[in-house]
Amino acid sequence: MSGAATTSDTGAGTSGKERRERPSTFALILNNRLAAAGLAVLGLIVLAAVAAPILPLADPNATDPANRLAPLLSEGHLLGTDALGRDMLSRLVWGTRVSLVVGFSASLIAALFGSAIGLVAGYAGGRSDQILMRLIDLMMAFPYILLALAIVAILGPGLVNALYAIAIVNVPFFARNIRGITVGLARREFVDAARLSGKGPLTILWSDMLPNVLPTIVITLSTTVGWMILETAGLSFLGLGAQPPQADLGSMLGDGRKVMFTAPTISLVPGLMIFLIVMSINLLGDGIRDALDPRLRSGALARPSFRTKVAKGRRMPGEDVEGADLPADAGGGVHPPLPAGNSPARGEIDGSGTSAAADLPPCGGDARQGRGGLPGTNTSSQTATPVLAVRGLETEFHMGSEVYHASNGVDLTIRPGECLGLVGESGSGKSVTAMSLMGLVPSPPGVIAGGRVGFKGEDLADAPDKRIRALRGGAVSHVFQDPLATLHPLFSVGDQIVEAIRAHQPLFKRAAETKARELLDLVRIPNAAQRMKALPHELSGGLRQRVSIAMALANDPELIIADEPTTALDVTVQAEVLRLLDTLRRERDTAVLFITHDFGVVSEIADRVAVMYAGRIVETGATDEILTDPAHPYTRMLIDCVPVMGEPERRLDAVPGRPPAANRLPPGCAFADRCPRVEADCRKGEIGLEDERGSLAARCLHPLAPGEALAGGPIPDGAGSGRPSGREVSP
């Protein structure tokens, strides 16, 4: 599984852990130091208890009134004697033996009956399941220990009765857990197959189901057995369990309490032993659970921090601080992306050594004139300095010993009022790139390993946390993909917008509320005043995304980073939201970085396009030119995949093959394995982003000529067919 490649788009980046060969359960438990310690302590205690008859111990019941209440370490009595002069050490070992036997027996009985009930209920389903589970629920409606007391009250005090009581009250835990697993298993094919082969239900339960639920039984057992030992001891402590002369740890503690003030050790020592047993079992139990339940394995639940980690020795691209003035589409040509592992020093030499950089005038607003203007954008954006100038951005995911290069030396430039479409398949690194700008890639495992995030001349990767916080939602705001997941489910949308406003503007609640209402009006939400109180799940998908947009506009941002903002919406709503976003950004002259996998969407909103593949920009240029005649074969294939009226099944995932794993990028062109035009030289060395005709620059040794179809390509009708609507394109 290529972890980063599949998960990087959502920014989660944690679910796709590589499934290597798993070490054995036992090895996993031993690896966990605490669990191993638990195992060792428990082992010693059990050993002593088992060996009690052959150990050189005094008779635990031999009284010696002359020698009563002897202190610790007295002669012949290592742990002293109790109120009747009995040897405490011997009593401790024998008592431990009783407690362990009783506790483990109770656990096994509970596991046996509970699992049986769970298996039958889960497998049979229907009526019997309902009745059984109602009964179990009813048992759980009693406070845990109270039920045990009631059972002892019925059966009468005594060690065996206490054992039964504790076993019975623990049955529900097993029944519930096992039933849950069984219900899932009962629907699986192998059970069907067993049924068809004529096996009876009992045989199926025994030979097909039981082995599969065994881990759950073991986990439940390991988490409850400590409790059961504790509780049986507790009942004895209360005088409801072991009756004299029989003694377990609980009754020893209970007896010792009578002389607690004169000889505290008599009660404290058995208590300490109970604690040691339970603690070691719980340590071991946690280890077992972690080993058997992969969901809980450490790291799976890593907490993303406030901001993406920036590597200390961050690799820097060439010294072109004025590079902010570079035309975006030349960026990659100027700085060939650095191969991973490149030292910062080398990176700098590479950068300043490139001829393109040398050609540039030091402060060249007009440097890009030679490359032609940017069709479709207004003139102000052509001359203004960029809002965003990303250079050589490298974002990696570090998982275990693997390093996934999600964003592998990316250059991006966006000018005021301009919309740059960042396009690629899922896993291309486009979302990771976008989320890196404001440090929103989850860390761990994300690390910004290199490059510069230039925002109006300031390197954000260097900026202090405080500065980042001020920019987030202020000058740079985000619109995310699925507004149901990205809006807080428990707060009203008005509240969430007000919060966004007040995070950056010193407004009183009232004033902020008025402003929020205006924002909702602005994004054309009808009945804004009422909708303020709505919770996200009470709104339609389209309205929710309008709320997100309103929130993004709350503090008049200069740049909006929109990560697939329309992907989760259905087609008509998608068009509306897109139009709204387009209108608003034009009205307010806001720059937009628009991430999408869909060239159809790109044609609606973007002035320029950057196509990403395997963590790199492979082609950039003005939207019209790219859509008409892309130079890179990958771009061509993506464009050809845009659904055409009447052919709804032709979608992006129709590009055959998969991108290379981001932790094992091949040398040379990363697209080579899927490219219809591949030749031997493609796989050799680094390929730079070279200028092609017009505004285009592509990272390809054998680019397409204008109008050229993909010979032998997977889509035979070739150029011109899969055009997205919305923009006039002539072949």
Binding site: T14, A141, F480
Partner: protein
Amino acid sequence: MTATIAKRLLAAIPVLFGLSIIVFLMIALIPGDPATAILGSYATPENVARLNASLGLDKSLPQQYLAWISGVLSGDFGRSYALNRPVIDIVLERFSATLLLAGASLLLATVFGLLAGIVSAVRQFGFADKAITLAVLVGISVPSFWLGLLLILFFAVKIKLFPASGMVAIYGGGGPLDILHHLVLPAITLALVATGVIARLTRTAMLEVLRQDYIRTARAKGLTERRVIFRHAFMAALVSVIPVIGIQAGFVLGGAVYVETVFQWPGIGAMLVNAISQRDILLVQGGVLVVAASYVLFNLLADVCQTLLDPRLK
């Protein structure tokens, strides 16, 4: 909202009904002759006969149940033979003490459990997290009846900061401060396990929530980390922790048995233990019923709180 609460209340009725049947069956399930079991083998034949009549043991089980439950509903739980008082009086008197102890413990457990869980999650894998995780493990492994003794030996005997037992001082006690003074040690003892469990689950819930997209949104809005954690993450995590607190109410109510015995707190748990030893079955029955019913109501309360917090659950 009221409709939701009413619905939950209605749903609790069958549970209470089921509880009452189980508690009622306690007598029927006693092996041998219940009257002798209840009164002990030294009971006079007259007393046995009287009890048999009052229990209606000659009638069918459903009839017996009807007679019993109508008595219970009008506050008649029968008479305690050991104490020779109406069960209801004893139970109510004792239960108020237990409620005070259990309530205080649950409050402690909730506050400290949530705090520890949050800190642990926010400092995941850091020193604080490791320390808390270990402390939690210790906390849920310590037998409360042993911890109680330790606390008594240290705080009551050694440094004489808190009283060793009882709920009020024998001379001139009884004021709220006096009760509070007596409450500290037992409440801490009882709270320990619940604190550990709540802390553990809060940590998991927080870690789960902190990975959600809406947390990224909150950060993308430029909120302070404090606000992200204590408002956005915590509120969402609380939704899944509240039922756990409800369940812990049951463990606290049950665990009170040990703590009340150790600290001689005049609660219902200590009473139950005595009643069981003395085979005072009617008293046990009444006590179990009241505690179990209060637990159902506790869970109901947790349920309602959860719905109030997360309207999606409606």
